[in-house]
Symmetry: C2
Subunit: 370 residues, 2 copies
């Protein structure tokens, strides 16, 4: 095939022009331009049609974008969330560090961006998806990393429609065959906590969780429930499953509520370290010693857990970061690698229980009780 | 001037070749290449000479680098530190979010990278400075952001020698005229804490700090000392200045030590929230109520402080992020802006005391004591 043909207007993927996209989508060139530069001004239906045409034709706003994307060092985009009040610490900085560290080996760096909270196109500001699409079309990133996914998260579908390569930490409730993800088995995490507590002789084991409906919260509740059932101790404890907001004050209130019961628990599994630290604070005020009178287990192994001697479920964040970065590089052609027959990565990783004095007195030095 | 002359080998800054650099530095082309790609293999003295020649001649490894750097969206580099154990939370994610948010308005994003701990060129791995220089030379970033500066931090000098534009959050003890920085008046922060405690009637006010020699730790100690002196209460408290590692266990140990004194303090100012949270934990075990029997003030207003009702000194991180990003864009020609006659930004910002129940019972709801 002569070179000129490959460069022709009707040539292969990647050489389409804005006119081709406008014709394919049945809109004006101005509308295509709006979708690229001010997507919130375009009706959702029109926008999806244009985005599909862009993806199918492999259109890129300019050649520079593609050469940028192909150039070294590469870049993957990742949104940074604002710090949320009331929680002891998030694992966001651990995850960002793991991603940056993993990418560096392949000369690929993490591009941080912020976005407005709502993914609704009519909301104020620019959503994470819009920002991701714009960065990808500008050639600034090879693809993006999603995290903190909800059951019905719209982002995987939106990015798929727009043709933006991405890999998710976590996954939606459905359609998980359509994209690459790495997730941690949250259910196994709280189940391991129950196993540990039952082995230590506990039978009345409470659960401090989030209100139903959240992906992580529900999975962690299921792990407690199924392990309690498996050990035959659920009947004595099923009323000890209490829920509230993910704040330290919330954890203190939930623990206090359980301590007021006629048959209070001798141990609790909390859905987060934040709730667990709140629970630890409730104990001395009721004359209970953490770890000795009431065992407490948290989730996420934040720096606060290590500092307080709190037993906690640790997610293999460094491994998640490595897998996600490697998959993103594979998807975008920067490296060769194996995928299953769907062409997607589906990795469910086991968490690990880190045992400290809050559930096993004498397990290690306990700074709280010095 | 005809176009061909501007492109000539001996043309203006930016058109120098690797041969020009090698001649100017009196080394081989291979040595120049090593400085660019494997700086740890080159003796420090030679490396500095080559770097000076590169900076003076405005040499860039390739033309692509310059066009990349000039392209939009721009990028500024920032190292992400690993999460440190034993602390309740760092302000790193708040700072990174502030930088990303500030840059976004100018279509400039944050490129995250990791580096090995040591800045010694013979240490294992690649130092932050080497990584910054490589990213800048490759055209991946307009410049870099430094933070967590020590008294005798080598990074400002190293980046200046290499010609990499940078702005620092914090500053060295000397040579602060040579580069742009924004810093928070740490001394004013602990002084404000003392003012608040003296106004509440306290006279025996302790200080929980880091061992001498650190920039932040020393400044926060000076603030306590000068305010105590100003209020005429230093004589009764000068022995209440105790130091230890910045961990919660450390804070608990220091507070316990002070409570064992014949004349224990009625209030303490801690150099960090981590130490303050550790101090809070020591109180109930000694029958003291936080805020009522002993007032505690922390520093950094981490999420843990808000969650625990801990009075804390808040740094204006969002403002720091805005100033640093704006200055970096100005320095690299992406925006116009004013600078003082030195051509550098020097901004010292005042922190703010956020008063909660740990020093003012009834100031707000106290989740600890519910």
């Amino acid at each position: 095939m002569p070179l000129s043909s490959a460069r022709g207007r009707s040539g292969g993927a990647g050489s389409a022009t804005i006119t081709d996209v406008a014709e394919a989508a049945g809109v004006s060139r101005q509308t295509v331009s709006n979708v690229l530069n001010a997507p919130h001004r375009v009706r959702a239906e029109t926008r999806e049609r244009v985005e599909r045409a862009i993806a199918e034709l492999g259109y890129h706003p300019n050649r520079m974008a593609r050469s940028l994307r192909a150039s070294s060092p590469g870049m993957v985009g990742c949104r940074i969330l604002p710090v949320s009040a009331g929680t002891v610490a998030s694992i966001q900085d651990r995850f960002l560090h793991a991603l940056a560290e993993a990418g560096q080996r392949s000369d690929c760096h993490v591009l941080l961006f912020t976005a407005s909270e709502s993914d609704a196109p009519d909301g104020a500001g620019v959503s994470e998806t819009e920002r991701s699409i714009a960065l990808w079309r500008a050639g600034a990133v090879r693809g993006v990393v999603l995290y903190d996914l909800t059951h019905d998260d719209p982002r995987p579908r939106e990015l798929t429609v727009a043709g933006v390569p991405f890999v998710a930490f976590g996954r939606t409730a459905a359609e998980t065959d359509g994209y690459s993800w790495a997730d941690v088995d949250n259910e196994a995490g709280t189940a391991a906590a129950v196993d540990h507590l039952v082995a230590a002789g506990h039978r009345r084991i409470g659960f401090l969780g989030w209100p139903e409906g959240s992906r992580l919260g529900d999975a962690r509740a299921r792990g407690w429930l199924s392990a309690m059932d498996r050990h035959g101790v659920l009947r004595r404890s099923h009323r000890l499953d209490v829920r509230g907001p993910d704040t330290m004050a919330g954890g203190t209130a939930l623990m206090t509520e359980l301590l007021n019961r006629p048959e209070p628990p001798t141990a609790v599994v909390a859905a987060t370290d934040t709730l667990a630290v709140g629970a630890l604070h409730a104990l001395p005020h009721r004359g209970r010693r953490p770890g000795e009178d009431v065992a407490v287990v948290g989730f996420d192994d934040t720096p606060a857990a290590a500092a307080l001697g709190l037993t906690s479920v640790r997610q293999p964040i460094e491994e998640v970061g490595r897998l996600i970065m490697a998959e993103l590089l594979r998807l975008t052609g920067a490296s060769e690698g194996e995928a299953d027959e769907s062409g997607r990565m589906r990795q469910l990783l086991a968490p690990e229980l880190v045992i400290r004095t809050s559930s096993a007195p004498g397990a290690a030095e306990d700074p709280v009780r010095r």
